[in-house]
């Protein structure tokens, strides 16, 4: 019901906005000149922090420094799929853990508030397990402990898509 209204409102608003925007567009004649960034010379350009990616590629995934400094990986709604960003981050952890065999790693799975509490406990565990499996298959050789908090420990309690995004996560702790 609300979704339907939301959709219709979005269509309505976008119609109004395009109506306004097209008026403005007529006055704008030349687009902003694009500046070409100066390329930095870096011996590790295509293998920043051993990730196999360039800094730009990392940045495109929202990773600004060493991927191993990222301790949280995120998921889509009701999903346990590991996305590209998570692969890079978990790959970095796996490489480190591989050199420190037997490290105890705690993987805490979480869900957003949507869905029932019991289902979310199961979903949080699934996410933690998927991360554990990823580390194992990347030969991390770590001693993984998984635990699910379901929707019980959100990092952001707002009822917004961005809050939900931040709450659907696995925290890697060691």
């Amino acid at each position: 019901m609300n979704r339907k209204i939301g959709l219709m409102l979005t269509i309505l608003m976008s119609l109004i906005l395009t109506a306004c925007a097209s008026k403005n567009n007529e006055q704008v004649t030349d687009p902003e000149p694009t500046t070409t960034p100066v390329a930095e010379v870096d011996p590790n350009a295509n293998n920043a922090f051993g990730s196999g990616l360039s800094m730009d590629q990392l940045r495109a995934l929202g990773i600004t420094g060493d991927p191993r400094d990222e301790k949280v990986v995120y998921f889509e709604y009701n999903s346990t799929a590991i996305d590209r960003r998570s692969q890079v981050i978990l790959g970095a952890h796996a490489r480190y853990l591989g050199q420190n065999a037997g490290t105890r790693v705690s993987l805490e799975g979480h869900a957003d508030e949507r869905g029932t509490r019991d289902y979310n406990l199961a979903l949080g565990e699934r996410r933690a397990n998927v991360v554990s499996d990823f580390l194992n298959s990347a030969n991390a050789g770590s001693n993984n402990q998984t635990i699910s908090y379901g929707e019980e420990r959100p990092v952001d309690t707002a009822h917004t898509e961005s809050a939900w995004q931040r709450n659907r996560r696995v925290e890697v702790k060691y």
């Binding site: 029932t116 509490r117 019991d118 289902y119 565990e125």
Partner: protein, 432 residues
């Protein structure tokens, strides 16, 4: 000009879609057909100067209003205030359109002993319904309990349905002690939230309370350092017992109607499956083996089957498993997600959470859905012991709010005495 036309077209569709949804909801309210019965509950005469904390007639009125089957007439409209049969004149009540009349007295017997006597009157036929009823051996603080007895008797007499008002509710209250440090309390209260009592507390989340059929115990989930554990608390002696503390997630306990078994979900074999624990033999039996998430089992009225939530259809949907022939039936097809389904005690209706936040009733035979709510974040529905009301959580102005809705969708009342950061309400069976 063209854009204007598009605007009007989309406006038209917006209005149209609103109407369709309104119709869907109204359709659900119409399902009951019968209107609420106007009822007059005369303030009970107290036969000395005792001042009670609550007015008995008001408690009765609140109880009956919540069912959607009665429409209490405000006291100010009453032309007379009879307390005995010889003072009742039918025309006084016909004039204010009352169809049912309840009146009575509260006797003070000295030494904190009271007795309530009351009668019911059918105004249309102008004749009393049943004999004078007595509620003896009351203490002053029992006035609300006595009122619930009166409400139950009126409800049974005029609807032919079972009672509900002497039942209780369990729920979880979260108290913030300091920044990000919480105390979780399992609470028990009267059905209207009065007299809340803490029965168990933990520094970690408590969820999924479920009453034993004799209402002497509550099964629940408590998060621990190891993970979620299913526990049972005995309300008579306060003793707590671990039922399922296996590796992984143990959750969603549900007592069988005969009180001997507890179904729950456990991921001890890797994937969450449904298990049944026998409280007599203390054996755990694995029922489902699918690699999907299977959780939230809830028993059929005769214990011959259970409903559960499963992601084997990719998104969570409701399935029914028969313990008689091991058959599996998918129950829900409408909407992206359906979860947390449970039967009423007679098996006439199923209540569930639809698309993550609507409370919806389902006919177990036709599988037709009837929307009780259309908010975004409603959850944790449970039936009253007579199946005529549903208790659930919603959010009002960002505040968690506990609501009782009549199953005809006509009336929603806030559980008035429950406040604070509460969740996971569960309505008890009748006390035996």
């Amino acid at each position: 000009m063209n854009k204007l036309t598009t605007l009007f077209v989309s406006l038209f569709f917006l209005v149209f879609s609103l109407q369709v949804d309104a119709q869907r909801l109204r359709g659900s309210a119409q399902a009951s057909q019968i209107r609420a019965t106007p009822i007059a509950i005369v303030p009970f005469k107290v036969l000395d100067d005792t001042q009670f904390e609550y007015q008995l007639d008001q408690v009765v009125a609140n109880d009956l209003y919540a069912t959607g089957k009665f429409d209490p007439i405000p006291n100010e409209k009453y032309l007379t205030l009879p307390t005995r049969a010889e003072e009742v004149r039918a025309k006084d009540w016909r004039l204010i359109n009352a169809e049912v009349l309840v009146y009575g007295e509260i006797w003070s017997l000295g030494g904190d002993r009271y007795e309530v006597q009351f009668r019911m009157h059918d105004v249309a036929q102008d004749k009393p319904v049943g004999q004078t009823k007595r509620i003896p051996n009351l203490r002053k603080q029992d006035i609300r309990a006595a009122a619930h007895v009166v409400a139950d008797e009126v409800y049974k007499a005029f609807t032919g349905r079972g009672a509900a008002f002497q039942s209780r509710i369990a729920y979880v209250e979260r108290q913030q002690l300091e920044n990000q440090r919480f105390r979780f309390k399992l609470m028990v209260a009267d059905w209207d939230g009065y007299n809340p009592t803490e029965v168990y507390a933990s520094w970690n989340s408590i969820l999924s309370p479920d009453w034993s059929p004799d209402s002497s115990k509550i099964a629940f989930v408590n998060l621990t350092a190891k993970g979620p554990v299913v526990k049972v608390i005995n309300l008579t002696d306060g003793r707590v017992e671990d039922i399922a503390n296996f590796k992984g997630v143990n959750s969603a306990p549900a007592w069988s109607p005969d009180g001997q078994k507890i179904a729950y979900s456990s991921s001890q074999h890797g994937s969450p499956d449904i298990f049944i624990y026998d409280t007599v033999t203390r054996q755990h039996e694995r029922i489902s083996t699918h690699y999907a998430i299977d959780t939230e089992p809830n028993w059929g009225p005769r214990g011959e089957s259970f409903l559960f939530t499963s992601s084997r259809s990719r998104k969570p949907q409701i399935f029914r498993y028969s313990l008689l022939d091991q058959s599996l039936t998918r129950m829900t097809f409408e909407g992206d997600e359906n979860a947390n389904a449970s039967y009423d005690p007679e098996g006439k209706n199923i209540v569930l959470v639809h698309d993550g936040g609507n409370i919806v009733l389902m006919d177990p035979e036709s599988r037709e859905l009837m929307w009780l709510t259309n908010a975004k974040f409603d959850e944790s529905p449970s039936f009253s012991p007579n199946g005529d009301m549903v208790l659930y959580m919603t959010e009002q102005g960002f505040e968690p709010t506990m609501i009782v809705a009549s199953i005809d969708g006509r009336v929603r009342t806030r559980v008035e005495f429950v406040q604070g950061d509460v969740r996971e309400p569960a309505w008890s069976p009748l006390r035996r």
